[in-house]
């Protein structure tokens, strides 16, 4: 009898300590440690090479304002990728939403046109397109890569048709005042990014929806047999991302004061890169919002440092490639240091 008592005890004593490590490692923020270091190094480099010009609050805000748009989409992308999918159409969706909303605004130039309508339109278009993506993937059983590639082509084309390949200039009063402005010195765009990020974090880490997303991405069959409505959940993920694209569209319109079918070009690469650099598994089943945000900030800061040192694009590209590799390797070493197998 006593042996029965002891056996587990003994294993327990040996296990508990390392378990702490294991548990800690499982925690995103620590997996993101490498990223923090990378970002830190980047900032130091910036300060050394550009000094005050880099260190100024203005410059910080410039970086954040630039990061905001990519950031919002990346948060949405984190959910889709964690859920085992991918979306190549985000850039196109941003373009489409921006164009649709702004043409609506410019055409119905009635005085009583309120900017809320425009914003609503952008969000609706984004979510709608996301819904189509989701349905094609979940019920049409089309590989996410293909379905969203098709959407990428279609949405850009449609955007061009709607805008007649003209840049739509927005003159809706109130709109710019709201989204172009800032609250106690912090640009509204940055605040929006922050809110989206926080909401995303809570949704992914604290709600059943988030937990199910992880399950669906990790092992769809197991999730299905566990009673999760995998297909419906998948659709929701793409709608969510579509919504994020709608928000991003509003932000770009506020930033450029225009809607254009060229907005958000190659956004898909930037966002996926930020998400994956952040530590979300491209194969699904594991995602981290903190990592994504760090990934976005790293890329934004990188570009800024380049500009401040007026590097030409070619050199920038080469450096960017090298830095990405370095960052990931660094991240691994640090994770490895903390004892992951």
């Amino acid at each position: 009898m006593s042996t029965v008592e002891h056996a587990p005890m003994s294993t327990q004593t040996t296990t508990t300590k390392p378990n702490v490590v294991a548990r800690a490692l499982a925690h995103p923020s620590v997996r993101g440690l490498g990223l923090v270091v990378a970002l830190g190094i980047l900032i130091i480099v910036g300060l050394i090479t550009a000094g005050q010009r880099f260190g100024s609050l203005d410059n910080a805000l410039t970086i954040l304002r630039f990061a905001a748009v990519v950031g919002v989409v990346s948060v949405g992308m984190t959910f889709v990728i964690t859920g085992g999918g991918i979306d190549l159409s985000v850039g196109a969706l941003v373009a489409l939403s921006s164009v649709w909303a702004t043409t609506l605004a410019t055409q119905t130039m009635a005085e009583d046109f309120h900017w809320i309508v425009m914003v609503g339109c952008a969000l609706a278009v984004g979510s709608g397109a996301g819904l189509i993506n989701g349905l094609l993937i979940a019920y049409g059983r089309i590989a996410p890569f293909i379905a969203t590639l098709a959407m990428l082509a279609a949405a850009r084309g449609l955007a061009e048709i709607i805008a007649q390949r003209r840049t739509q200039i927005v003159e809706v009063d109130g709109f710019l005042e709201v989204f172009g402005g800032d609250v106690i010195g912090i640009p509204v765009l940055v605040i929006m990014f922050a809110l989206v990020a926080v909401a995303g974090w809570v949704l992914l880490n604290r709600t059943t929806f988030g937990r199910r997303t992880v399950a669906v991405g990790g092992n769809p069959e197991a999730a299905r047999l566990a009673g999760i409505k995998v297909q419906r959940h998948t659709v929701l993920l793409y709608v969510l991302l579509g919504l994020a694209c709608g928000i991003a569209a509003v932000m770009i319109v506020a930033r450029t004061n225009t809607g254009s079918s060229t907005h958000g070009s190659l956004l898909e690469l930037d966002t996926i890169a930020a998400v994956v650099i952040g530590g979300t598994l491209l194969s699904g089943g594991r995602g981290t919002i903190v990592g994504t945000v760090l990934g976005v900030l790293i890329f934004a800061t990188l570009t800024n440092v380049f500009t401040l040192n007026n590097l030409d694009t070619s050199t920038q590209a080469v450096a960017k490639g090298a830095i990405i590799v370095a960052a990931v390797l660094l991240q691994q070493r640090i994770a490895g240091r903390s004892g992951a197998s």
């Binding site: 100024s56 630039f66 390949r165 840049t167 254009s260 070009s265 500009t307």
Partner: protein
């Protein structure tokens, strides 16, 4: 509006042709107070846009009182905006801006002006007159007009009965492409002709070759082809050679050195000039404005608000004269 460029012709011709000529000949100019100029343009990976950057750099080189900050390279309005923000944060003395999309960068340009930094708008025009101290416009619409008018002339001379006219545009989503096509169509209207086949490439050699070879299949017989851009023109030409087709008049755009050589060798009919020297002019004006000088190089004492480079057609007759303007693809 088709005659507007003509109106400003002489002045434009100066600004146009003198850029590089000066760059070569002039000895370093006497320097004034040192100024910092920020320059930002679209992604300049090759050809015309690269020439834009190079001529800007070359121009800046000539003045030891000019420090040039180049934030080059993007087709993403959002990124270019943050580059201009950086210039504003830096408090540069003047900004030369070739926007990826005029309208999209208008607001930030206005912010710069309000921050007391004169903005020189190059090539693609802002949507507000308050966004720039001076505007040096490449005239895309005019380019189309010139090409179209020249095409009409060809039809006249060789009295071609119901000619097949083809157009190979650049990146179709860009407003400037639309302007060029519109101008081309409007001009053809004058001699009641229209474009029979239209394809769009991406300003790259490869895309030029791809769309051209498909175009040749689409139209078994072609009389006149206008290709918007001589960079992609290299690919277009390759497609013609591969298919062994040369029954048509081949008109180009922008005026690369290649195109001009082809014209000399009679392999190309003509090309519509769209000089990449405007950036150089931009830098020059930026310096003058920043130093509160008048425009000593020009006739008037004051820097003009608006310079529109016209789009002359380079043919075998005048190619020698324009060769120095030709840029290497």
């Amino acid at each position: 509006t088709s005659n507007e460029p003509a109106a400003e012709q002489d002045e434009a011709a100066d600004a146009g042709s003198e850029g590089p000529a000066a760059a070569d000949s002039d000895a370093p100019v006497e320097s004034g107070e040192p100024v910092v100029i920020g320059f930002s343009g679209p992604e300049a990976d090759h050809g015309w846009l690269a020439a834009i950057n190079d001529s800007a750099l070359a121009e800046a080189e000539r003045y030891d009182d000019v420090e040039l900050r180049v934030a080059e390279g993007t087709n993403d309005a959002s990124l270019q905006i943050s580059q201009i923000e950086t210039f504003i944060n830096d408090g540069v003395d003047a900004i030369v801006l070739l926007p990826t999309d005029g309208a999209a960068l208008t607001d930030i340009a206005i912010q710069a002006m309000e921050a007391g930094i004169p903005v020189i708008n190059v090539d693609r025009e802002f949507s507000s007159p308050f966004a720039a101290r001076t505007t040096i416009l490449g005239d895309n619409y005019g380019m189309g007009i010139s090409a179209g008018t020249y095409a009409c002339g060809l039809i006249e001379e060789n009295d071609i009965s119901d000619p097949v006219i083809a157009e190979i545009a650049g990146i179709d989503a860009l407003p400037l492409t639309q302007d060029r096509s519109e101008g081309f169509a409007d001009a053809l209207e004058e001699c009641d002709q229209e474009v029979d086949n239209r394809v769009a490439a991406e300003f790259t050699v490869e895309s030029g070759e791809a769309v051209a070879s498909n175009l040749l299949q689409a139209a078994p017989r072609i009389d006149i082809i206008w290709n918007h851009d001589d960079d992609q023109g290299i690919g277009v030409k390759a497609a013609f050679d591969n298919a062994g087709r040369d029954e048509f008049f081949f008109i180009g755009g922008a005026g690369s050195a290649n195109a001009m050589r082809w014209i000399q060798d009679g392999e190309m009919e003509a090309t519509v000039l769209y000089p990449p020297t405007q950036a150089a002019d931009g830098i020059r004006l930026a310096r003058l404005i920043a130093q509160q000088n008048g425009m000593s190089d020009l006739v008037q004492p004051e820097v003009p608000r608006r310079i529109v480079l016209n789009a002359p057609v380079v043919t075998a007759d005048n190619v020698e004269e324009y060769l120095p303007l030709g840029f290497e693809s």
